[in-house]
Amino acid sequence: MVILITGTSKGLGRYLAEYYLKKTHTVIGCSLSANVIMHPSYHHTQLDLSNESNVRSWVNSVRKKFQTIDVLICNAAIVSSALFLTLTPGNLMESFLKTNVAGVFYILREVSKQMIKQKRGRIIAISSITTATHQEGTSVYSATKCAVNELIKILAKEVSSSNITCNVIAPGMMKTNASEELAKKLEWEKEMLQKQTIQRVILKEEVAHVSDFLISPRSSSITGQVIYLGLSN
């Protein structure tokens, strides 16, 4: 399969890219920074997902080179800042919107066009349990993840007749570069875990397990779902 994953330079995105490469799939990835995955079946592009024309050109070139995109995993996001809403600078809020909402919107739009043409596809977006835990200090981040959930739920309906499923994986606290940075500030990790039903760090393997489930041919009737990891619904 040809699997396109955004944000593959580190954290969950890198894990998923390497995981699917091990399973002998072709993985196409991107990040703001340079390539860190050296593998013959991995194809990296350095780009800013919040730039509409960059995303269009990238997906266009992927379409031409690979003819198909079987799976899209929208993983890239800004995962930083533990500031209360009252203290959040406007430009920080705007950068969240640009990457976490507009960036996801552009990639969803361009890839779903290709999937509609090929009449099949699987789309997964990575959101977060913070949309349900309403944790202090996550207002802007959580708002962007709520937007992602909604984009996916509506897209799921719009493209269902083309055999495309769209789902969200919403993990609890994971150990990644982003969360380690946050954990240095405040008592972030402790506070996050206290809000979870399963009060431990969620493993990246667990996210990959859900993603395997969603891209399995047997999951063709599962769409528009948000699957929480670590939180009861």
Binding site: S53, I116, E158, S162
Partner: protein
């Protein structure tokens, strides 16, 4: 690309889509044919395939990476979208310049 060439490009894309069974045959296809909005000959999903193919063809013909932006089309109303083949041809001709 002038209006006539743009019309030919659209006609070619439609013929290909019909040949590949992506859309049904369109009776009396001409500049007045509505491709988006009330009375459209294409459903929403077919319109997306149609637009994607138009963009691909446009890039092939002009050698430039060109993308359609619906709200740049003259008189296009996002709240009540309506687009004819003639309107699209005029837009493509402008876009390709």
């Amino acid at each position: 690309m002038n209006n006539n060439e743009a019309y030919e490009l659209i006609d070619g894309v439609v013929k290909n889509l019909v040949a590949s069974d992506a859309i049904n045959t369109i009776d009396g296809f001409d500049e007045q044919t509505i491709v988006l909005g009330n009375g459209s000959v294409l459903d929403s999903i077919s319109f997306i395939t149609f637009i994607t193919d138009i963009e691909d063809k446009l890039q092939e013909v002009t050698g430039k990476e060109l993308y359609l932006v619906l709200n740049e089309i003259n008189n296009f109303n996002v709240d009540n979208p309506n687009l004819t083949v003639g309107g699209l041809a005029t837009y493509l001709a402008t876009l390709s310049k």
